[in-house]
């Protein structure tokens, strides 16, 4: 019985580790200017071989970044102060060999460009610069905050029984102290 429990525990740890490793790390940097918080983030590893296969097949690939400004709370879930959702997508034209990349924020296209350079496309696709996070209330001076970025890439080439909602393809976090 004890041996079985031990084996089960090891399997659970391996699965957890695999799940942790599978999620890419999002590099997040924050900038506070004019009482507002801006987040820049990049996750080049999001353009994985699976993502590349999807793009090369002509399917549009989307990277949805959920950016949340949060404040830690003891003994309870961290409080979300503000959030923003941005998405970058790419579609490859097989005939011309060009990538059409676009970026959206709040369902509005904020930027679009085309390139036949894959590296360029990867940079455009996996990086955002100075995404504004609008907090409804002013931030508390000298308080600890952090910005969390979660990435969700669609479509996936793999399938697991774990629901897609709540399963991130990458996460990152940057802590900062708001100083007025």
């Amino acid at each position: 019985m004890t041996a079985r429990l031990r084996v089960a525990g090891i399997v659970a740890l391996v699965v957890l580790a695999a799940a942790t490793l599978a999620a890419a790390d999002v590099k997040v940097t924050t900038l506070v200017a004019g009482g507002r918080v801006y987040a820049s983030f990049a996750v080049p590893s999001a353009y994985s071989s699976d993502a590349r296969d999807v793009v090369k097949s002509g399917l549009p690939l989307s990277c949805v970044f959920t950016v949340e400004l949060k404040r830690s709370t003891t003994l309870w879930f961290d409080r979300t102060i503000a959030s923003a959702t941005v998405m970058s997508s790419v579609k490859f034209d097989t005939l011309t060999g060009t990538y059409q990349v676009s970026k959206e924020q709040d369902d509005k296209v904020i930027w679009s460009d085309r390139t036949d350079q894959e590296d360029q496309m990867r940079t455009w696709l996996t990086a955002f610069d100075r995404v504004a996070i609008a907090a409804r209330d002013p931030l508390e001076p000298n308080a600890e905050y952090y910005v969390q970025v979660r990435l969700h890439v669609t479509p996936r080439r793999t399938f697991s029984l774990w629901p897609p909602w709540g399963h991130d393809d990458g996460t990152g976090r940057a802590d900062f102290t708001f100083i007025r």
Binding site: G58, L95, T154, P155, F159
Partner: protein, 761 residues
């Protein structure tokens, strides 16, 4: 044992309705169909929707699987519990369910496994190498065609850019530029290429942003007039900005396309002073085929890329269909098992309820098929049983009433038999005693323990032996009965019985038993004897008294006549005449007593105090008994109820009995008894409230009366004293009898006891 519960009313579930089942199945199929259609479009809808569809399918699969497991677990658990609780037909239902489940689960499982393999192999076949090679070749062809056109446009652009001197980039040199471009168009025509050539000059916008200005444009005459130049302008600006070649492609409304290449015109210092855009027209037919090839390739690649999720979708759909079939089959099997078993179970429970007496039970048929007919037949049977039961109840009540009557009559007869003075014994056909009434017990000295014993054994007792022939009455051939007068000697007394034995014959003359009837005729015989003696006494009084007076007178005349005779003769005559006269006087006295016995008047009774009468009577003896040892001992009970009696006659009774006792003790001067006790006569009175009689008991401690003489004491002319008329006790008995009482004589220790019983007033 617990009464079986009435069969529970069948629960009408919605799913028991065929209509509801049909609606549910149609709805399920519609949902399934919709899901399949959505899943088929999974590559055309947004990726999120694909995920939603996929996970929805899996969620539905899991839900159906959970429902299937629930249905199976619930029904199997219920069957197990039913078997544990020995519910009727639980084993039958379990077998039925097991058979139906095997018939559904095994094929469904086989189809599920086979189908999964088929889907997997189908996907493998979809991505076979030949198909991929064909699509790859088509894509390469289209790509090569496009790249060739792109390379041609690039070559043209480079050629034009090289041919245009930087100085010529100005509004004043348009004609020179047109000549250069005309040469390029001529070259295009030579290679059957249709297209356009634009030359742009780099300009600076007011904000400092680099921009382009079109200097000259030439195009083939056969080019569609609907081409949009704006795309070429943007491409030129892009090349100017990037400083390198910029390719582009623009689809046209006619189905064709323009393949463009922009290249910067560089000054001597390397800066871009302008740009050349060469566009070559791709005909619609070529462009369409290129697109078809690329679309087919892309579709293939997309399906290949999404092979995993797609295979999951198909497997999920197939699994859902298989599970739906499985759960439907399972459900239907369980439903059918229930539909079959429930009426049978209802019938079994109904039969148990009817067995427990619930004949008003009616089962509700759930169907109109054969099982429904069976239930209806059961209801008819129950109704018939109820009707029969009602009739039986009526008959039973009638029988009970008759039994009650018979029982009452039996008790009435038993009461009569118990009360009558006639003894009755009933025998069964084997001669065993069935009943003995109280009179028989008293007459024969029996008790209820003789019941069941053979009559011959019981009547073989010494004192009852004369009755033995009666016990054999049933053995006599063709015996209908027997009547005998029998005298039994019991308790030193003779009992005269008029005995009759009657054989009880049943149907066909079969002997079923016998009845022995015993009448105690002792008092009757005694009365007859007394009556006879009274008659004798009357005749004696009449026949003897009449000649006595002439005899006495004749004797007296003879004595007077011989007064003068010789002394010897006179003495003889006087002696003889005196003897005659004395004896005549004695005869007269005897005759008078007989006359008195014969003509004794009836008592004139009034309620009187017996104690006072006894005390008054005993007072007469006070003077007589003073000198001797004999003494009278009155023991009179107080609170004695009055007795209706003739005091004079009862006084005579007391005197007679006391005189007899005095004489038995040897007279007033009798000495002490041999045991040293003084001669004593006890006169006692008491009251028996139960029998309602007042008793007068006179006992002495004399020598007693021999048992053989006790019954004769009360007969006239019987005396143990050797003198007297012997009528004293006969008169006593007559007086007592005429007062409604009785007298009996018994033995004391020592002595004699006379007990007189008189009814209380």
């Amino acid at each position: 044992m617990s009464t079986p519960a009435a069969p529970s009313e069948p629960r009408r579930r919605a799913l028991d309705s065929p209509r509801a089942l049909t609606v549910a199945v149609v709805a399920l199929v519609a949902v399934l169909f919709g899901l399949v259609r959505v899943a088929n479009r999974t590559t055309e809808v947004s990726p999120l929707l694909s995920d939603v569809v996929l996970y929805t399918l899996y969620a539905v699969d899991l839900a159906i699987l959970a429902a299937l497991l629930f249905v199976l677990a619930r029904n199997l658990l219920k069957l197990w519990l039913d078997q544990r609780q020995a519910v009727p037909f639980a084993r039958f239902r379990a077998k039925l369910v097991a058979a139906l489940l095997l018939l559904t689960v095994i094929p469904a499982g086989l189809v599920l496994i086979t189908g999964s393999e088929i889907i997997s192999s189908s996907f493998d076949r979809w991505f076979s190498v030949p198909a991929e090679e064909v699509l790859d070749a088509a894509k390469n062809l289209a790509k090569a065609s496009y790249d060739e056109r792109q390379a041609s446009a690039a070559e043209g652009a480079h050629r034009v850019a090289a041919a245009i001197p930087v100085d010529a980039l100005g509004a004043g040199n348009v004609s020179d530029l047109q000549m250069i471009l005309a040469g390029e168009l001529t070259l295009m025509r030579a290679t059957s290429v249709v297209g356009t050539v634009e030359v742009y000059q780099a300009v600076r916008a007011p904000g400092g942003e680099p921009d382009v200005a079109l200097l000259v444009q030439v195009e083939s005459a056969s080019l569609s007039p609907n081409t949009v130049r704006a795309a070429a302008d943007r491409l030129a600006a892009r090349a100017l900005s990037s400083g390198r070649d910029e390719p582009s492609s623009q689809d046209l409304d006619d189905g064709g396309a323009l393949v463009r290449m922009a290249t910067p015109i560089r000054a001597a210092d390397g800066t871009a002073a302008g740009a050349v855009v060469v566009s070559e027209y791709v005909p619609a037919v070529v462009r369409t085929e290129q697109r078809k090839a690329m679309v087919a390739y892309d579709k293939y690649q997309q399906v290949k890329v999404l092979r995993g999720p797609l295979q999951g979708v198909y497997l999920a759909i197939y699994l859902m269909v298989a599970l739906l079939i499985l759960i439907s089959a399972t459900w239907f099997g369980l439903y059918m098992a229930k539909r079959i078993a429930r009426p049978v179970q209802m019938l079994a429970e109904g039969a148990r309820a009817i067995g427990a007496g619930r004949l008003d039970l009616r089962l509700e048929p759930e169907t109109t098929d054969e099982l429904g007919s069976l239930v209806e037949s059961f209801n008819m049977m129950a109704a018939e049983l109820r009707s029969s039961q009602d009739r039986l109840d009526l008959s039973r009540r009638e029988l009970e009433r008759k039994n009650h009557e018979v029982d009452g009559r039996r008790r009435y007869i038993e009461t009569i038999l118990e009360r009558v003075a006639t003894g009755v014994l009933s025998l069964d056909s084997a001669g065993a005693i069935l009943t003995v009434n109280g009179a028989a017990e008293r007459l024969l000295g029996l008790d209820q323990t003789v019941i069941g014993q053979p009559a011959r054994t019981v009547l073989a007792r010494e004192d009852l032996r004369p009755l033995l022939p009666l016990a054999d009455v049933m053995r006599q051939p063709e015996a209908a009965g027997m009547v005998q007068e029998i005298t039994l000697a019991r308790d030193d007394r003779e009992i005269h019985l008029a005995a009759a034995a009657t054989v009880l014959a049943g149907d066909g003359g079969r002997v079923e038993g016998a009845v022995l009837v015993l009448d105690d005729v002792t008092p009757l015989i005694r009365t007859q004897r007394v009556a006879a003696w009274r008659d004798v006494a009357r005749r004696l009084a009449h026949e003897i008294k009449n000649p006595l007076t002439p005899i006495q007178l004749s004797a007296e005349r003879l004595r007077r006549h011989f007064q003068t005779a010789a002394p010897a003769s006179r003495a003889l005559v006087e002696e003889c005449s005196d003897a005659i006269i004395v004896e005549v006087e004695a005869l007269k006295t005897l005759v008078d007593e007989f006359a008195q016995f014969a003509r004794m008047r009836g008592p004139r009774t009034v309620p009187s105090d017996l104690n006072r009468l006894v005390a008054d009577t005993l007072r007469l003896y006070s003077g007589v008994l003073q000198q001797g040892r004999l003494r009278l001992d009155p023991q009179l009970t107080r609170e004695l109820p009055p007795v209706r009696m003739d005091s004079e006659q009862m006084r005579q009774v007391i005197i007679n009995l006391v005189d007899n006792a005095v004489e038995a003790l040897g007279g007033a001067a009798a000495p002490d008894r041999p045991d040293g006790q003084p001669p004593t006569i006890v006169i006692a009175t008491n009251h028996d409230s139960q029998s309602g009689v007042v008793r007068l008991v006179i006992s002495d401690n004399g020598p007693g009366v021999p048992p053989a003489d006790r019954d004769k004491l009360f007969m006239p002319y019987f005396s143990t004293k050797g003198r007297g008329s012997g009528l004293g006790l006969a008169i006593v008995r007559r007086i007592v009898s005429e007062h409604g009482g009785g007298i009996a004589v018994g033995a004391a220790q020592p002595g004699t006891v006379f007990t007189v019983e008189l009814p209380a007033a």
